[in-house]
Every structure is written in structure tokens, then in C-alpha cells.
């Protein structure tokens, strides 16, 4: 099954932190942040489920979870629609050009994550060309001007931007392996271009689609920096809530509760995706 080094890695970097978080979620917040002592002044062990109770009784948290999942899902969908043609283009281009094209895809990683987010503040800012163009167009139809920055739009644009390479790379890795003869065969058997894509290329690329979707959806679910910087007041996502619990409200136990639920949701989704991928991928082994 899982052999030595990977197992040790998982224990140290995944199981142990998760366990610490699980324990923290049952404790009380400390007076000045952190955690209250496990054994209180009267000598009793202080463990409770207050955090979980709060999560269930106050609907706002469920709403934020749903909204976060919605943003992540939309990001994944847009990334898929943008990445598919791009990955296809790279996979079909001459071998000597592929490395350069792939380099261009991962090039943004070479600059700092926050700097790239701030760059979008400039691009989407009220005095930038894009906002002016949009608002001039809106004015032509008699509509009121809209701000692009500090909006759900800005958050989604940036989420798509930072996530796109994570969709392109697994899709490319999959599409690049496709046997062109299969498309010739499909065409020979009477399939037009759309039928060849929908019946042959797309189903065979599903393992790549699932891998890309997991790599985009899960990080997008927990993101906090992008809504913090580019979002408006309504764009608080679960990542922001968790950050708030630790840094502003200083309620570590409740922050842990939210984190655990997020981790559980992500694991369930990843597991589900892997299961679906295995089922449909089993048949696609040539």
C-alpha cells in the first residue's frame, strides 16, 4: 500500500496538523487569542462542541460555504472552457514549440502571488481603459456605470487567472497522449468535426478534466487573499472567515471548526473526483 517515506510525509504534513486542528476545534478560545488552557482553574478538562453548535445554528456560515463552493465551481467551469482550447492547441502544435508554449503558461508563477493580484487592481481600476470602455458601452445603452473593481466579477476574473495553469497542464498532459489515428478512424466512420470531439476526444480527456478540476476547485474553495484585495463587502468567502477567526476575532477553536469542515469538504470532493475518474478512466486505457 503506502510505503515508508510517503507515509511519513503524510503523517508529518497532513495527519499531524489535521489532528492538532481537530483537537483545537473542541477547546475554548483564550482570553487574548490562542487557546484557553486544556485544564481550567477548577481542574476540569475544558472540551466542548460550542464551535460546531455555532456552525449549525447560525445560517450565515452555511451560506458562506455555499457561496464559496459557487465561486469555486464557476471558476472551475470558466477555467475548463478557456483551458481546453489552449491545451488542445499546445498538444497539437509542433513538438519544438510545445516547451515554449508550456513555459508561457507557467510564466506567471515566477512573480509573487500578491503582486499579481494587485496588478488586477490596476487593470480593473475605475480609471483604467477596461472600466472606461465597459462603462462607455453601458452608457450607450443608457445603463448606469458599474465599478469593475471590488466586485464578484473582479474576484472571479482573478480566480480564473491564477487557476488557469492548473487546468491547462493536466489537460495538456492528457491530450498530448491521444492517438490521432482514433480521430481518423472516427472521421472515416462518418463523424464530423463536432462528433469527433464530443464522442472521442472529450471522453478520452476526462481523466485530465477531473485532475484539472480538482486542482482548480479545491484551492479556489479556500482562497482568501483574492476576495480580501479585489472583492467587495459581499464577497466574503470561507477562506476569509477562517482568516478572520485566527487573525481578527482571535477565536482559534471556531477557526479550526471552519477549517475542518472545509478540509472534509475538499477531501470528499477529491475522493469523489478520483472515484469518477477511475470509473471512466478504467475503460480508456488503450
Amino acid at each position: 500500500m503506502v510505503s515508508g517515506p510517503p507515509l511519513a510525509f503524510l503523517l508529518v504534513f497532513f495527519a499531524a496538523p489535521t489532528l492538532i486542528m481537530v483537537l483545537a476545534s473542541f477547546r475554548s478560545p483564550g482570553e487574548f487569542g490562542g487557546l484557553a488552557p486544556l485544564v481550567d482553574a477548577s481542574g476540569r478538562i475544558d472540551l466542548n462542541v460550542d464551535g460546531y453548535a455555532r456552525l449549525v445554528t447560525e445560517p450565515v456560515f452555511a451560506q458562506v460555504f455555499v457561496k464559496s463552493a459557487g465561486y469555486a465551481a464557476l471558476t472551475t467551469l470558466v477555467c475548463l472552457l478557456l483551458a481546453y482550447p489552449l491545451a488542445t492547441l499546445i498538444a497539437r502544435s509542433a513538438k519544438k514549440h510545445r516547451d515554449l508554449l508550456l513555459l508561457l503558461v507557467i510564466l506567471p508563477f515566477w512573480s509573487n502571488f500578491l503582486i499579481r493580484i494587485y496588478a488586477w487592481m490596476i487593470i480593473l481600476g475605475p480609471n483604467a481603459a477596461l472600466a472606461r470602455l465597459v462603462n462607455r458601452a453601458l452608457a450607450a445603452f443608457g445603463a448606469d456605470p458599474v465599478p469593475l473593481l471590488f466586485s464578484a466579477f473582479a474576484v472571479l476574473v482573478c480566480l480564473v487567472y491564477v487557476s488557469l495553469p492548473f487546468m491547462v497542464l493536466p489537460l495538456y498532459a492528457n491530450l498530448e497522449k491521444h492517438d490521432r489515428t482514433l480521430l481518423d478512424a472516427a472521421q472515416d466512420l462518418g463523424a464530423n468535426a463536432w462528433q469527433r470531439f464530443w464522442r472521442i476526444t472529450f471522453p478520452l480527456s476526462l481523466p485530465g478534466v477531473y485532475a484539472g478540476a480538482a486542482l482548480v476547485f479545491i484551492p479556489a474553495l479556500g482562497v482568501f487573499a483574492i476576495p480580501d484585495i479585489l472583492g467587495g463587502p459581499d464577497d466574503t468567502l470561507i477562506g476569509n472567515l477562517i482568516k478572520q477567526q485566527f487573525l481578527e476575532t482571535r477565536d482559534w477553536p471556531f477557526g479550526s471548526v471552519l477549517s475542518i469542515v472545509l478540509t472534509a469538504a475538499a477531501l470528499a470532493l477529491a475522493g469523489g473526483a478520483a472515484w469518477v475518474a477511475r470509473r471512466s478512466g478504467g475503460a480508456s486505457r488503450a
Binding site: D179, T181, L182, D184, A185, A186, Q187, D188, L189, G190, A191, N192, Q195, R199, I200, P203, L204, S280, A283, S284, R285, A286
Partner: protein
């Protein structure tokens, strides 16, 4: 009118002419083979019939209609690819159903069509298997069933047996012959394997450097090759160049430098002094230990220089006193199955005048 007409088709790739002014026609119900070494243009020609490639000059006509403006998906021809190209994410049933779906055959008619196609290739009961669960031979049959299920006018087969081992290949060759007879669809078969071409075809076009060297029925291709290339490519052949020195009716004497005059029957009437090549099949040469017979024909003595014992037959390479090498084939017909001669043995070779075939230049 022929079913499939190839008229003056030429295809160039840059400086290289892959197919050079080829004209041929395939009749309905015919098993037609394009035979040649790799790079001879046979696959390019096949791709132009399928529509994956277009001729630079000339035309491909099916039932008299020029196919130039029809993309591959709109041509009533189907291809069996060398790699089979089965869709790995579909079952056998899904693969065979695919062309029916594309042709918008009503769903209620499909199961029966699929069953019939699978029965034709003797794969009944394999419907639910995925390609990766099939052997090479079974994959090949699925590819054939998938290509035949829509009853195309012509079936194109691109070296469909090349990936299989010899025993299975022979089995599938017989099945292909029977299948073709049964369905009555014209087959255009591409191969570089001359025995396969001889065994399967009604007619063979031997191709070389993008041209058709010879187009004829298998026995004439084998027995009366019209060029050194065809003689050499189809089976083993002794080839001797020389000049016509005498003519007596249908029999000419060719002066071969290392053999002296060789007498050979010919239907053409080569002029005295003209040069050409004698093609002589190893199995047509009698090889014996005894003294020269008096029978009319050609007689040579020589020493066995090399031999290849192949079980059923032995190939002897005999060196004559003139320094010429003659390859002869002799069945190991002794009860022991042992070969008749050893290296160094003196042997007597002879062949009748009508054994050889003279190729004029």
C-alpha cells in the same frame, strides 16, 4: 464501368513524388491488393481513396463520381487501420455501433446490424468487452466488423495483419478471403508482404517508387514478372542479365556472361542482340546428384556453396564453374526429413526451357 477508378493520380510531398501518375480500376466484389516495399506510395494512394489526402493531379472516381469534394466522413468507403484504431472508451458493441449512429441508422435497427457484423467476423458474445480485454486477432476482427457494418462500397485495409504473429496471420487470411466472398464488398488491401498478396488477392498492383510496376492476377505476377523489380520483390528469384544471341521460334538463347547461353521460352519476340533478364524461380530448378540427363533444356554442374535447411525444404546456393550462383529449392522428401546434399557436394542442375521467364529491357 469499374466500381473504383483511379485516373492519373499524382501526389507530391515537396520534392518527393509519393504517387506518380497511377491509373487503375477496381471492380465490384474484387479483392484488390496494392503491394510494394515501404515508401512505394501504396499507403498514400489508400489515404487518397479514403479522403485523408487529396491528389495533386488526377482523380479518384467511385461509381463514376469524382470524390475530390467529399471529405472522408462523406465517402462510402471504410478503412481498417493497421493499428485497428478501436475506440478504447467504448465496448466492442459501442465501437461497431459508432458508424451506425453517425449514419443515423434508426436505433431499433442497430442491435440486429451489430449482431450480424459481429457474427460475420465470428465475435458473437464479445459485445460487452472493452478493446483492452481483446487479443490482437480479436481487435482486428472488431475493426473489420466496425468498417463493414454500414455496408460500404469499398473496404480499405491498411496492412491489417502486420501486427499479428505468423500462425494467426494465416488463419485470419483465410477468414478474410471467406468474409470478402460472403459480403461481396470490394476490398482494397495494402501490404508489403508478397505471400499475403498472392494468397488473398484476385488482382495485385505491384508498386515501386510511386508507380504501378505490374498489375495482374497473382499467378501471372509470380510466373511472369515484367521487370527485375517485380521478379525480385515477389518471392525468391534467380536473375541473370544477358543478350539475345539466337532465336528459334518461341525459344531464344540468352548469353549470360557467367553461365553461357541459356535457352528460355518467350512469348514476346526480342530482337537479336537486345538485352534483358532471365528470371528463374528456385523451385523450378531440378537438382540431383546423378549425371547430366539428356532431356532438352539447360544443364549445369556446380558445388553447393551454402544451404538453408528450413524443415520442409532446403535452399541450396550452388556455384557453377563459371562463377555464377544458382539458387535451387528442393523438398526434403526423404522419410527422415534430412536434406539431400551438404555444402561441398557436386550437384547437377537442370531446368526446362519454359521454366525461365525472359524480361526484355
Amino acid at each position: 464501368m469499374a466500381l473504383l477508378d483511379i485516373k492519373g493520380v499524382t501526389r507530391r510531398f515537396g520534392e518527393f513524388t509519393a504517387v506518380d501518375n497511377v491509373s487503375l480500376s477496381v471492380e465490384a466484389g474484387e479483392f484488390f491488393t496494392l503491394l510494394g516495399p515501404s515508401g512505394c506510395g501504396k499507403t498514400t494512394l489508400l489515404r487518397m481513396i479514403a479522403g485523408f489526402d487529396l491528389p495533386d493531379a488526377g482523380s479518384v472516381l467511385l461509381d463514376g463520381e469524382d470524390l475530390a469534394h467529399r471529405p472522408p466522413e462523406a465517402r462510402p468507403v471504410r478503412t481498417v487501420f493497421q493499428s485497428y484504431a478501436l475506440f478504447p472508451h467504448m465496448t466492442v458493441e459501442g465501437n461497431v455501433a459508432f458508424p451506425l449512429q453517425m449514419a443515423k441508422v434508426p436505433p431499433r435497427d442497430r442491435p440486429q446490424r451489430i449482431a450480424a457484423a459481429l457474427e460475420d467476423v465470428r465475435l458473437t458474445g464479445y459485445d460487452k468487452r472493452f478493446p483492452h480485454e481483446l487479443s490482437g486477432g480479436q481487435k482486428q476482427r472488431v475493426a473489420v466488423a466496425r468498417a463493414l457494418v454500414t455496408h460500404p462500397a469499398v473496404l480499405l485495409l491498411d496492412e491489417p495483419l502486420a501486427a499479428l504473429d505468423a500462425k494467426l496471420r494465416e488463419e485470419l487470411q483465410i477468414e478474410l478471403i471467406n468474409l470478402q466472398k460472403e459480403v461481396g464488398i470490394a476490398f482494397v488491401y495494402v501490404t508489403h508482404d508478397q505471400t499475403e498478396a498472392l494468397a488473398l488477392s484476385h488482382r495485385i498492383a505491384v508498386m515501386n517508387h510511386g508507380r504501378v510496376e505490374q498489375l495482374d492476377v497473382p499467378s501471372r505476377i509470380y510466373g511472369f514478372p515484367n521487370s527485375r523489380f517485380v521478379a525480385d520483390f515477389i518471392g525468391q528469384c534467380n536473375l541473370y542479365s544477358g543478350q539475345v544471341v539466337a532465336r528459334d521460334g518461341t525459344i531464344v538463347a540468352i548469353d549470360v556472361p557467367s553461365l553461357g547461353p541459356v535457352r528460355v521460352a518467350t512469348r514476346s519476340e526480342p530482337a537479336l542482340g537486345s538485352s534483358g533478364t532471365i528470371a528463374l524461380r528456385p523451385e523450378q530448378i531440378r537438382i540431383a546428384a546423378g549425371a547430366p540427363a539428356d532431356a532438352p533444356g539447360n544443364h549445369y554442374r556446380g558445388t553447393v556453396a551454402d544451404l538453408l535447411y528450413m524443415g520442409d525444404v532446403t535452399v541450396y546456393k550452388v556455384e557453377t564453374s563459371g562463377g555464377s550462383r544458382i539458387e535451387a529449392l528442393l523438398a526434403n522428401s526423404q522419410g527422415s526429413g534430412a536434406k539431400f546434399f551438404e555444402v561441398g557436394d557436386q550437384v547437377e542442375m537442370s531446368w526446362p526451357v519454359d521454366a525461365g521467364h525472359f524480361i526484355a529491357e
